[in-house]
Symmetry: C2
Subunit: 260 residues, 2 copies
Amino acid sequence: MPNASPPAAAKPLPGPQGQEAAPAFSPLYQQIKALLMKSLQAGEWRPGEAIPSEMDLAARYKVSQGTVRKAIDELAAENLLVRRQGKGTFVATHAEEHVQYRFLRLTPDSPQDAGPVQRRFLECRRMRAPADVARSLELKAGDAVVMIRRLLLFAERPVVLDEIWLPGQLFKGLTAERLGEYQGPMYALFETEYGVRMIRAEEKLRALAADGPTAELLQVTPGTALLSVERLSRTYDDRPVELRRGLYHTSAHHYRNEVS
Amino acid sequence: MPNASPPAAAKPLPGPQGQEAAPAFSPLYQQIKALLMKSLQAGEWRPGEAIPSEMDLAARYKVSQGTVRKAIDELAAENLLVRRQGKGTFVATHAEEHVQYRFLRLTPDSPQDAGPVQRRFLECRRMRAPADVARSLELKAGDAVVMIRRLLLFAERPVVLDEIWLPGQLFKGLTAERLGEYQGPMYALFETEYGVRMIRAEEKLRALAADGPTAELLQVTPGTALLSVERLSRTYDDRPVELRRGLYHTSAHHYRNEVS
DNA sequence: GAGTGGTCTAGACCACACT
DNA sequence: GTGTGGTCTAGACCACTCC
């Protein structure tokens, strides 16, 4: 459907000159991308669902299909959307087979050692945020948080000890029981039950020596070198929503990474 | 230089039906991308130089500018090319300020501790490849390799001990002296002096305890937990061209990573 | 066959860099 | 101003999926 002045309406400050040094020019497709992101954040389309077709979106925003396409391309590149030729474009979800362990980069040294991962929850309780946790999660010191401790076992052997901190505000009814019942990745639980979707994360890795209690849980001798992985996960709007501190026993597994 | 029948010749089996179940369809822009990659590999344009403009390339390959653009877009996304609006598209190089330490992901815990990195070469000699090194570099056991040992210092303190293995075939005149003379990143030296360009790398991270000699070099007590980073770097055609084993002292620095 | 994403084209205009 | 990459459009056709 043609329209009177589509580029004009959307265009960024073409008339009066910017009052600042930075004219803040933004391409149309970036504006469309921002609108799509807002809809995602608002839950207009839920994880796993299809978003409207490119043609529909083009009509809705009064731009050409190519412009919508470029916006979607970027969102797909950021893993927020998934395109499927012939079917549609879908909101990415953590509840899918082939993306199950997108965030867990630990791999067995010998591929044939790959096996199902077992989880064992050690603790789950609500408490006031310690100062460092509050700072990372951008909460006020003393705000409510949920703390979870968990063991990951590969081939019956404990390999990862995780300590997970979540803003209490966002995870009201989260209990050890609900964690235990749920099958599938934790991030899928967060997304379906609490509407909190982890989008991206920053990790800080270092090596440190196992202390006594940790050594016992991971079945290593105290002082064993462990890989420490501190992850801060964020949602759509870049708010931090999870702090995860993991200790990995890397005698038969390693953390894989690609750099380019 | 134009050629007789590029699109026709390049087009994917439009006439006769494929004889197999998989028709091996390949979009035009992927074929253009492959041609560009071949030119890069052949050194038709050297690192830092501009490649022909999109219009020129479109004329050369007898396709539209948009098709060339999409091919270049992908190469730019893979960090093989760098686009600069108003100037042209350039072959990526390791010899640039803002990409200096693209492959070194170690960061000081406190940003204000950021400072110049010093290098100290401990050893550089040619030898026969040990079995494990040969396997990683896809050489025959006993082939010539260059082995380099090097210390990296942040703020005068040793933080990284690297052991670097290179195929002797590719690095004929490489000596400790030339390494010491050269200013700038090692990968820039490799690319300008030996025509070997590292494109991407896989890393395996783990934690382990410092042995005696290592501890002395890194000025830690033996047994200190160190971050082990084993990196295998590859060139354009995915051939491995460097094996690097690093030990990082992570008491005041960490390895940063983003996951999405 | 209808609908979806994927490719390709051609042309217009904009933003940026150099000269 | 000229040339480069960057954006936007409109239309045609292809490949894939489902009915």
